[in-house]
């Protein structure tokens, strides 16, 4: 241990920082940055949840007036009702904040930042300063996004001055989002701020992606061959590659749309547009569908960016608490690659009804159904991991089991939507809303819960409360099924999405209103249950029992360092790896787990 090995990929060594600002605010330590991302996501998810609460209130009781609303939002909810523009603003902001500031931050920037370097045996990321910049740019993006909500208040030209930001949905389709205020309230300054925020976010993500890829390829410690990497690392790596290749396209599209707003261009507005009583003579030559191509070329890889880290983590946690190697490690890695790669060739399935050439729909549809194959492989391998296991039902384990269930539920309805013709009656209905919420808004979130319950002891040095964790799981798991399963039925009945009220549609039938109310009640209960989680976090941080180095008896490298780890993770030592990441229940071994750094012994199949 005292020998000096040449360090595989030297990281610029720096002394631990001193002073509050350097230690906790502008820190270059990947662990601090990871926690900052995680808190940003936690803050954002609560804003997003409050918005969904208001939306569910409106949908269940569209004509009701609420006293508390008038008090909270005197400008936007003047007589205590949610106006159509406020509703659409909530739809837009809820989607934008959740997709970008929750799903694209915590799993990758949060847990990935914290644990990738440690799991590969490195002292930090390859580019610590770039890492810090990525976080703070993301933070600025969030501030600008929140400002966008108040666009009509801060815009001096707008006499309405109600609290309503952009109303074009998180997808911001042109021309609605390219024409400016003439197309609707909040579509001028609101959209400009929204695009600006997203542009900052794109740059931050690109910087982060560079860091992840370089770190994983260059900074692995001795013995950490590619096939000994935990599946979390493979997921973070692939996610980073997806981000690297897709975010620039969104940035480009955003810049073009920004120019349409402030530069007098017409990238997305064709000639002959007659909007709100005016013929727009100055606008010509633009392509409306171009925005959708640019957006969804990013947008589809984006949803895999949102789910892949959760899949990697689920594999990791299932294996750990099943006390059993992951079933089909290589197949799992290839499946991650296949999902990532195919994810770039299916963006048109969001555009089947868009007016694009119907021949292209055929190609997109077949490839979309093909993506179901690696996803199914992963599910079978998770089941295979649990077969013959000796499961320890800790809270992280239960949330990972929940992830598998919700991934199946959410992913499987993609088989309907991916078929171009079956998509015709279902596109832009609640069927889609149910589908993407189950897969992104629930499965991915369960991945984050699992990660939090799993790594909280390592990050904060305290154990979380198991009883509260289990109560949180059961209410949430049952609750989300009650909220989102019925939405598929609503979509089949033909309920369009982004409607602030479905009262005007007779074809939905008598069952629609009661079902809507049921979903709203389920949402209120489920959102309420998240307070149990927050309480658990705070209580455990203050009063939780102290966590040892390896409370879960897990095998990967983060469990050989103190909880929390010192500034440079391995206290100047270079860990040497002799085993794969999932060597549990090895026959003949003393314990039912073999750490990756345990001494070598007779070779076995998994190493």
């Amino acid at each position: 241990m005292a020998e000096a090995h040449p360090v595989h990929g030297e990281v610029h060594r720096h002394e631990p920082p001193s002073g509050f600002i350097r230690k906790w605010v502008f820190s270059v330590d990947h662990k601090v940055i990871g926690i900052q991302y995680w808190f940003l996501a936690l803050f954002s998810v609560f804003i997003g949840m409050i918005m969904s609460l208001l939306m569910r209130l409106q949908l269940a009781w569209p004509t009701e007036s609420w006293g508390f609303l008038k008090t909270l939002l005197p400008a936007a909810a003047e007589n205590g009702t949610i106006s159509p523009e406020l509703y659409l603003s909530l739809v837009t902001m809820h989607g934008t904040i959740m997709v970008f500031f929750v799903l694209t931050t915590a799993p990758q920037g949060g847990f990935g930042n914290y644990f990738l370097p440690i799991q590969i045996g490195a002292a930090d990321m390859a580019f610590p300063v770039l890492n810090m910049l990525s976080f703070w740019l993301t933070f600025v993006a969030l501030v600008v996004m929140i400002l966008a909500i108040f666009a009509n208040v801060i815009d001096p030209e707008n006499a309405a001055a109600t609290v309503v930001g952009p109303i074009g949905g998180w997808t911001g389709y042109a021309p609605l989002s390219a024409l400016g205020e003439i197309a609707g309230p909040g579509q001028g300054t609101g959209v400009v701020l929204w695009i600006t925020s997203i542009a900052f976010f794109c740059v931050a993500s690109l910087l982060g992606a560079l860091n992840f890829i370089t770190t994983m390829l260059n900074l692995r410690t001795r013995g950490m061959s590619l096939l000994r990497l935990p599946l979390t690392c493979w997921a973070w790596f692939t996610t980073a590659v997806l981000a690297l290749l897709s975010f620039p396209v969104l940035l480009a599209g955003g810049v073009l749309m920004l120019f349409d707003h402030i530069g007098g261009t017409s990238f997305f507005v064709p000639a002959g547009s007659y909007v709100n009583g005016q013929l727009l003579v100055a606008k010509q030559g633009g392509s409306v569908i171009l925005w959708q191509h640019l957006f969804w070329y990013f947008g589809h890889p984006e949803v895999y960016i949102a789910i892949l880290p959760g899949m990697g983590l689920t594999s990791h946690i299932l294996s750990t608490f099943a006390r059993k190697p992951i079933f089909g490690y290589r197949a799992m890695v290839y499946a991650i690659f296949a999902i990532g790669l195919l994810g770039f060739f299916v963006w048109g399935h969001h555009m089947f009804q868009s007016g694009m050439d119907p021949n292209t729909a055929i190609v997109f549809s077949v490839i979309t159904l093909a993506i179901g194959v690696p996803s199914a492989i992963k599910t079978f391998n998770w089941l295979g991991t649990l077969w013959g296991a000796r499961i320890r039902f800790t809270t992280p384990m239960i949330f990972s089991i929940g992830f598998v269930s919700l991934f199946v539920s959410g992913g499987i309805t993609g088989i309907f939507l991916g078929q171009s013709s079956v998509d015709i009656p279902l596109h832009d209905t609640y069927f889609v809303v149910g589908h993407f919420h189950l897969i992104m808004g629930v499965a991915a979130i369960f991945g984050m819960f699992a990660g939090t319950y799993f790594w909280f002891p390592k990050m904060f040095g305290k154990m979380m409360n198991e009883t509260l964790g289990k109560i949180h799981f059961f209410i949430t798991f049952i609750g989300v099924n009650c909220i989102f399963m019925p939405m598929h039925i609503m979509g089949i009945a033909g309920a369009p999405r982004r409607y602030s009220s479905h009262d005007g549609l007779a074809y939905l039938g008598d069952g629609f209103k009661p079902l809507t109310k049921f979903v709203s009640f389920a949402a209120f209960v489920t959102i309420g249950a998240q307070l149990i989680f927050v309480f658990n976090l705070v209580w455990s941080w203050i009063k939780g029992p102290k966590a040892g180095e390896n409370p879960w008896e897990a095998t990967s490298l983060e469990w050989i360092v103190p909880s929390p780890p010192p500034h440079d993770n391995f206290a100047g030592h270079e860990p040497v790896v002799h085993h794969g990441p999932y060597e549990y229940s090895v026959p003949g071994a003393e314990k039912d787990y073999t750490m990756q750094t345990d001494p070598e012994r007779a070779a076995s199949a998994g190493d």
């Binding site: 909007v275 992951i326 055929i362 159904l369 194959v373 019925p486 009945a493 409607y499 939905l508």
Partner: protein, 286 residues
């Protein structure tokens, strides 16, 4: 704990199955499902949906039941060790090929239907209607008694004088054209729509026909259909188009051939009078 989680998974399966196939047991007439299909292609789409439902249903039930089973059965047992296996190449091959075959088969079947919807043209003697969408109404433009559409151009559009589609006042063919916000079509005949939009993307969605097509500024998109049942059917807008998106609803009126022929010959004034009568006469289809 594993037993509880397992049971919860199984209850979830039962609940979901009931939701999708057992609603009428609990809700009777209030069952939520597709509205009655009034077109042949719609019925074909429904069939493909059903095949998919069978495949998806089996996959859903099997995987959730299996998940519930493994967590029910394989809990910790004292100091026992789990099975030390890393996988099975044979199983990987089997389930990869099986899922591949099933998914690709579904995909191919779906494309055949798609081709019927989008790659076939309407018959030469199909009834033509021009659709012009705007914030917040669908405008339907009919050629009138002469059967010839008047020329339209954006510069002639004037919403306040009700020239929504921009008819050129100097074109004689346009004198007898009709503009209204209801889609009127004959029973059992091909209808050929040309879809356009003035301002932002809207989407013409006729649930009863299983028809949906975005209307896109700058594009002229053709869609065709044949309605097999008379009645009044709702047309909600299906693409976010601004704050009154939720309130942008039109009707499609499918009329017996004779009634339709009579209307096709009427002046705009008479057409609108008759339309008002018919809209009251026909109950909305549920």
């Amino acid at each position: 704990m594993g037993k509880i989680v397992g049971v919860v998974m199984w209850l979830l399966v039962i609940g979901t199955v009931l939701l999708f196939v057992g609603q009428n047991v609990f809700f009777g007439d209030a069952t939520l499902w597709f509205p009655e299909s009034i077109s042949d292609i719609g019925t074909t789409i429904d069939k493909q949906f059903s095949y998919t439902m069978v495949v998806v249903g089996i996959a859903f039930i099997l995987s959730q039941v299996a998940l519930g089973y493994v967590v029910f059965r394989f809990g910790r047992r004292g100091q026992e060790r789990a099975e030390y296996i890393h996988g099975s190449g044979k199983l990987e091959a089997i389930w990869t090929i099986a899922t591949g075959v099933v998914f690709i088969t579904l995909a191919i079947l779906a494309q055949v239907i798609w081709a019927q919807v989008h790659l076939k043209e309407a018959g030469a003697d199909a009834v033509k209607v021009d659709v012009v969408a705007q914030q917040f109404q669908f405008n339907f433009h009919y050629p009138g008694a002469d059967g010839v559409f008047g020329r339209t151009e954006p510069k002639f559009i004037n919403d306040s004088s009700l020239n929504y589609v921009g008819l050129d006042p100097s074109d004689a063919n346009g004198k007898d054209d009709v503009q209204t916000t209801t889609l009127v079509v004959p029973l059992g005949e091909q209808v050929d729509l040309t879809l356009r939009s003035k301002d932002v993307i809207h989407s013409l969605f006729v649930p009863a026909l299983r028809l949906k097509q975005d209307t896109v500024p700058g594009l002229s998109i053709k869609m065709h259909f044949k309605a097999n049942k008379t009645g009044k059917y709702e047309i909600p807008c299906a693409e976010l188009c601004g704050q009154l998106h939720y309130n942008m609803k039109s009707f499609m009126l499918v009329l017996p051939k004779d009634d339709y022929q009579a209307m096709a010959q009427m002046t705009e004034e008479k057409f609108k009078e008759r339309l008002t009568e018919l809209l009251q006469q026909y109950p909305v289809s549920r």
